[in-house]
Subunit: 204 residues, 2 copies
DNA sequence: GATATGTTTAACGAACATGTCAAACGACTT
DNA sequence: AAGTCGTTTGACATGTTCGTTAAACATATC
């Protein structure tokens, strides 16, 4: 896995592009081969089957998210202090791979039974996540269920990318630059919003 | 379109379920026919082609969203006052059709070029949306780009449903009831958050 | 009871998709 | 020059999918 042949890289690159855009069933092995400019049989040579090729792409996509969450988990910094850095990291990831959210969510929506194993493999311990969140947020003397705060933060970070075509057209008149710029603005906007929630009962 | 034969209804119902879950390419006409308990040829008899059947389902899915937005637009109530009702409406819609967001976003992500025409057909005038939003929010003496507020509200309402499998497993340990209950809680939570943003500069 | 209309069915044909295999190729070793 | 190894290719077998067509069926009308 560490050392990849040039052909293998081309395959992965093309498979990503096409799977991201058209989905697993919507993409044929021939499509990928054509996009990569190689013979279709090579896909089977390097990845055995379409399922395994898809799996490789899916895992790589998941892998772009996990480091962010993992970093948050392993950090000893309180949630509040860590928040801005986390948001920035997530949004930067999204700016680089805007198509990943839908791709991953679509796959998980089709096969929700995969979740438990994925959680396990990714080394995420739900209990620890909750513990961490509970501690970080409890220190802010807040009523809100920490899960709602987490969910809201993630929603604010990711959804605008998942809904890019809609947002771009309706809110930004198709001006891609304006859209991107707005997404970057959210790096500071979202922590403000979340802080506002968390500190609500303090100032009130 | 007003009057539908029983068979036609069965087809649409099955097509919705399967398209929502497995996507267009991932669902075969045979799958739909089997699910509906009818002969496959009937799908062609009533909808001519897979494309047209999918189109019918997609439009119906889009149609569940638009009334919410349209209502907001046509209403003369200010954005702030209308907010709670709108959020409740959106979340109720999501609770009823939790799979629609991914379905629609996946399709629009695959074919973003559809957006302009969809906007047109749905009778949404981006300029008027902005005007309305600008007015409603401007009255709150706020610095934020109204588009950021809109986008944030929608994100908070919809994303938790798009990410249901993930949220359900990681945050709610697979307890569906707890998840649903949390979603309902957001009906009051989200307006609080948005109000907090909008009124931030007033109280500050 | 024959006929017409709309619905349902089985069978067919063409196109496409996936995986395998044996042969060709290229580079490097002996 | 022969041989070996990994890579690449074309051809094949199998299965699936989609749309059409012609026939069967039902039901209502004359």
């Amino acid at each position: 896995m560490v050392l990849q042949t040039e052909t293998e890289e081309k395959i992965i690159a093309s498979a990503e592009r096409l799977f991201y855009q058209k989905g697993k069933a919507g993409t044929s092995m021939q499509d990928i081969a054509d996009d990569a400019g190689i013979n279709r049989t090579l896909l089977n040579y390097y990845f055995r089957s379409k399922d395994q090729l898809f799996e490789a792409v899916f895992r790589k996509a998941m892998g772009t998210f996990v480091p962010n969450v993992a970093a948050m988990m392993s950090s000893d910094i309180s949630f509040n202090d860590y928040l801005p850095a986390l948001v920035e990291k997530i949004i930067d990831t999204m700016l680089e791979h805007p198509q990943i959210p839908i791709f991953v969510l679509q796959e998980l929506s089709s096969n929700p039974e995969r979740m438990p194993q994925i959680i396990k493999e990714m080394g995420i311990d739900p209990d620890k996540v909750m513990e961490k969140m509970g501690k970080g947020i409890a220190s802010s003397k807040i009523d809100f269920d920490p899960r709602q705060v987490i969910l809201s933060m993630i929603s604010l970070c990711i959804f605008p990318f998942a809904a890019k075509p809609v947002a771009l057209d309706i809110l930004y008149g198709g001006d891609e630059e304006a859209y991107i710029s707005a997404m970057k603005d959210r790096k500071v906007l979202i922590p403000m919003i979340i802080n506002q929630i968390v500190s609500q009962n303090q100032s009130g």
